[in-house]
Structure formats: structure tokens, C-alpha cells
């Protein structure tokens, strides 16, 4: 790498420009998140004093968060979302594994037909309306299961997992079989412990999808008590006042501008993702690359 050290002036200028562009891009990525956090924490009086917006607040208050968590709607929506994320991710992983494992056995008769059937669903679908009518016919309308069961397996994730299983050393499994393990036991005791990285990756994929899900809530649920946090957040942002959405006493809200409460809700809906992100990122890159190569 000796060529790196000899740099001409024009090289230095180019480098400077590149570093500058990247710094600006990073700040542009972070600033909206920072601004929303500040908005949610700044007292109303200070906002007014500064003519509508504050970038470096001198005083912080948790009033907006207190209002949110005292309301009827937000804690309920968070509970719903946590339920869907936990139960949904568990079922996603269970059914995906049970499907991917046999499909990773190249000797299994009928494997090709099942795989083709699954890949076909990635290319052609009935579309929105027939799916809605199916969900209706299977009795899931206005039930939380409507947010879990219609998306039980992601074909993409399933194929990634299948590829992972195919690359595991077959000798270990064969040894387990010789020692008298059945297929189920081999999967549970031998394959699963070897598959923790892929389980973590896909678990995070599925988990983030559930946490971010709003469309199922809009389409299948009319009962406001069942709405997940993203749906509540969306309707909060789109209504000028927040009192009807929050179902709290309007006098409490007089002290706070609706924007502050909306921004606090954005922060609450974002926080879990930001909290798990440091753990996700390494896995996600690997998962994405596997997917990109084997797609």
C-alpha cells in the first residue's frame, strides 16, 4: 500500500471534499432525529419565546411523555405492538425453521415442487383485495392474529435460512442420527444451536417488521383498542388536535402544543429500534449479503 502515502495536493483537496461531503451527509441523517427529540423535550414557553422552534434548548421537560403515558391510547397501543412483535417473531421463526429445514435436505422427494410453489408466490400474488377477503373468510378481521398469521413466513427469509442450513456440516447431523436422534431431535439439539447467528438475524428482521407494521392495522382492524403504535402515531400526526386520539382530558393538553405531543410519540415509537440498532447492524449486513448473493 505504498502508493497511499505519496499524495499530491490535488489528492488532498479531493480527500478534503469527500470527508466534508460525508460529514454533511451524516449530520443530515442525524439532525431530524435530534430535532424531533428536542421538540418533544422543550417546554412550551421556551418554544414560544424563540418564535416557534428551538435547536439548543436551555430547559427540558418530560411533560409531553407524562401526558402520553397517562393517556388511554398510547400505552394500550404499545402493549399491542409488543405483543405482536414478541408472539409474531416467535411464530415466524418457528414456522420458517420448520419449513426451511426439510427443504435444505436435497434428497427429500417433493422438495423441488414445494420450493417452486414458494418462489412462485414471490413473483405473482392475488393482490390486496383477494388477500383481504381471505383474511376475512378465515375469521381474522378485528383480531390481533390478522397482524401475525397472514405474514407468517417471508419467502425471502425462508430461502436465506435454507441456504444457511445447507451449508452446515452434514457430518454432525449424521453422527447424531447414528447415535439414535430422530429428525426432530436433530433439529432441536444439533442444528438449532449451530444456527443461532441466522436465528438472530432473521429474528431481528421479523421483529423490526412487526414493530414497524401499520398496514395490517389499517386494513384488518377497525377496533381502535387493537391498533398498534404506528397506526395511532399516523392518525395522530394527521389530525390537527391530538385530544381525540389520546382520549385524555383536554385541559391537560392546553398546556402543551399538539406538536410537542406528536413528536414525543414519534420518539416513543422510534426508541426500541434505536435501542436494538447497535446489536442489529452487524447481523443485518451479513443477512443482506447472503440474501443478495443467493437471492
Amino acid at each position: 500500500m505504498s502508493f497511499v502515502k505519496h499524495r499530491s495536493t490535488s489528492d488532498r483537496i479531493v480527500d478534503f471534499i469527500l470527508y466534508a461531503i460525508m460529514t454533511v451527509f451524516c449530520l443530515a441523517t442525524l439532525f431530524p432525529l435530534y430535532y424531533v427529540l428536542v421538540m418533544s423535550l422543550t417546554p412550551y414557553a421556551e418554544v414560544m419565546r424563540n418564535g416557534g422552534f428551538v435547536i439548543f434548548p436551555t430547559k427540558l421537560t418530560l411533560e409531553a411523555y407524562r401526558t402520553i403515558f397517562d393517556s388511554a391510547r398510547i400505552p394500550q397501543a404499545i402493549k399491542i405492538t409488543i405483543f405482536i412483535t414478541v408472539v409474531g417473531t416467535f411464530l415466524n421463526l418457528l414456522v420458517t425453521t420448520l419449513l426451511a429445514y426439510p427443504l435444505s435436505k436435497k434428497f427429500l422427494p417433493g422438495r423441488g415442487i414445494v420450493l417452486m410453489g414458494i418462489v412462485f408466490t414471490m413473483l405473482f400474488s392475488g393482490g390486496l383485495i383477494p388477500l383481504y377477503l381471505t383474511v376475512k373468510a378465515t375469521g381474522l378481521l378485528n383480531s390481533l392474529w390478522a397482524l401475525i398469521i397472514p405474514g407468517l413466513v417471508s419467502s425471502f427469509n425462508m430461502l436465506i435460512m435454507k441456504t444457511y442450513f445447507e451449508n452446515l456440516p452434514q457430518e454432525v447431523e449424521e453422527a447424531a442420527r447414528v447415535d439414535g436422534c430422530g429428525e426432530v431431535q436433530t433439529l432441536w439439539r444439533i442444528v438449532l444451536p449451530l444456527s443461532l447467528p441466522i436465528m438472530a438475524t432473521l429474528g431481528l428482521f421479523y421483529g423490526v417488521t412487526h414493530w414497524n407494521a401499520y398496514f395490517g392495522g389499517i386494513m384488518y382492524l377497525t377496533d381502535p383498542k387493537l391498533q398498534p403504535i404506528q397506526v395511532v402515531l399516523r392518525s395522530m400526526i394527521q389530525t390537527p388536535s391530538v385530544s381525540s386520539e389520546l382520549q385524555v382530558n383536554t385541559t391537560v393538553l392546553d398546556a402543551l402544543p399538539p406538536e410537542t405531543i406528536k413528536m414525543a410519540t414519534v420518539v416513543v415509537a422510534t426508541l426500541p429500534i434505536i435501542a436494538v440498532y447497535p446489536f442489529l447492524q452487524r447481523y443485518f449486513i451479513r443477512g443482506m449479503l447472503i440474501g443478495a448473493i443467493k437471492g
Binding site: L18, Y19, M22, F25, C26, A28, T29, L30, P32, L33, Y35, V36, M39, G51, G52, F53, L98, L99, Y101, P102, L108, V114, G117, I118, V119, T121, L123, F124, S125, G126, G127, L128, I129, P130, L133, T134, A137, I149, L152, G182, E183, L187, W211, N212, F215, M219, L233, I237, E259, M263, T265, V266, A269, T270, Y277, Q281, M288, L289, A292, G295
Partner: protein, 322 residues
Amino acid sequence: MSTPNGLLNRTSADVLTTKRRVLQPLRALKRYRWYYLMMVPGIAYYLIYHYWPMAGLLIAFKKYNILGGIWGSPWVGLDNFRELFNTPDFFRLIKNTLVISLYRILFNMVPDVMLALILNELRVKWFKKWVQTITYGPYFLSWVIVYGLVFAFFAPEAGLVTTWMRDSGMQSIDFLTNKDLFRPMLIITDIWKSTGFGAIIYLAALAAINQELYEAAVVDGAGRWRQMWHITLPGIREVFILLLILRIGHILDAGFDQVYIFLNSRVLETGDIIDTWVFRRGIEQLDYSVAAAVGLFKSVIGFLLVISANKLSKKVGGSGIW
């Protein structure tokens, strides 16, 4: 191995093959029963939530009524499609869908490549790592949250940009309900959200380039630009073409999640896409048949496009998607 076996095989070969044809699947079924049992929930899921809806597409050829359901409603042939092609909405939808998709191809793929190229030039390791970590973070935020951020900046009363414009005496614009600004808003927020993540795949392609090529180029006296032009860009060409073809295959998917959240009644003219129209007409107005007809139209065209895109990518890049 031994002679008796070979003799036996030859004498009763016909009987054996017929027997095998009948028995083998049954034997496999018994021998691998646990594997097949494991697959039951997954296969049932695909049959119910993927293949049943495909059969449900029949309602595109029927006049749906609630009492009859999909199966009991009367056939109307191609009436729903005729109605569709006769509404002025239809061509607006196709146009919006295509335009938004093309914008996305143009304005998302280029920043992805540019970010990857710049990251590739950064020599300070820790800086590069930070840039990557920060820029692909927003990919994991939902579109609802991104809309919340947009709202913080562009809300008509209290948004940062709106307030700033008002304070500095400019004519205030309502960004969220302006039909000329709808598409730029989509594209800019999409760049913000997904460029970091989109760069990853190009970075992988860049990492796969043989470093000796660069050293040889330096020996030959190639500067930074020539290296980029003759080694780096050809190194990612294949990935770029593959992704481009894939995207063209999905050109009728203009990004429902994002468009649905950003859409409002004032920007329908430039923002309404096939998917959002299907949702409104079907789920909100309960006109299942016409909505399903549009859905079918889109699925069939999309299917043909993806199949041809794959063929094309095999021809151009040597490797298809499957």
C-alpha cells in the same frame, strides 16, 4: 454386486420398475414422515394465504355481492376491466406509478452508488465505520416515523422549515399538500432513509475487486480518476445492471408503504398510484370487483416484467436472479 443379484434384476426388471414407481413415493412418505410433518404449517400457510387469494382473483370477473361471496356472485366477464379502462383515473394511475418508479430508479440508484464510491475512497477506518453506521440507520425506521420527521420540518403551523420561511418573510408553502412537491418529497425522504443501506451491496462488490489491479495501475502511472474509471466502475457494473433490471421488473410497485402515508386528497393528481387506488376503491369503498381487476392487471404485468427482467439479466450479466 454378485452375479445372482444381477441375474435377478435382469429377469424381473419390468416388474420391479412398475413396483418401484408405485411404492417409492409411499416409502419416501413413510421414511421421511417427520420432515413432511414439519413442513405442514408452512405449506398450509402458503396454500391459505397465497394460493387461495390467487383463486380469489376470480372476483375480478364477477360482480361481487356480500351475500354470494366470491363463489356465489354472478359472472360478468370482462365488465370490470372495461369499466376500469374507461375511467379517466386509470391512465393517471398508470402514469403516476411509472413516473414515481422511474424517479426512484434514477434518484435512488445513483446516490447509492455515489455513497459506496465515496466510502471506498475514505482511508480513515473509524470515520468510514461511523459514516456507515449512521447512514444506514434510518433504513430500520418505519415510514410512519419518517413522516413524523417530515411533519416536524414541514408542518404548516409549527414545522422548522415552515416557521423559518415565515420568519424570514418568504411566502409560506404548505409542503405536505402541494401537488408539485409531492414527488420530490417522496424521493428526498427515500434518499434519506435508504441510501446508506443501498450502498452496502455496492461496497460488497467493491471489496471483491482484486487489489493487485490497483497496484498494477499505479505502476502504470494511473491517477485516482483513471483508477476509478478503469477498475472501480467496471467492478460494480454487473451488480448495478442486475439491480437496475430487477427494479425495472418491479416498475409497477411504486412503493405503497411510503406513498400511502404521504398521500392526501390534495395531491392525488400527482401521487395516487395503482396500489393506493386499489386500497381506496376496495377496502374503503367496498368495490371489491373493480379493485381486484386492477390488482390482477398489475399482478399479470408485474409477473411478465419480472420474468423478462430475469431473462434479460441472464443475457446481460450472465447471472439471473434465479
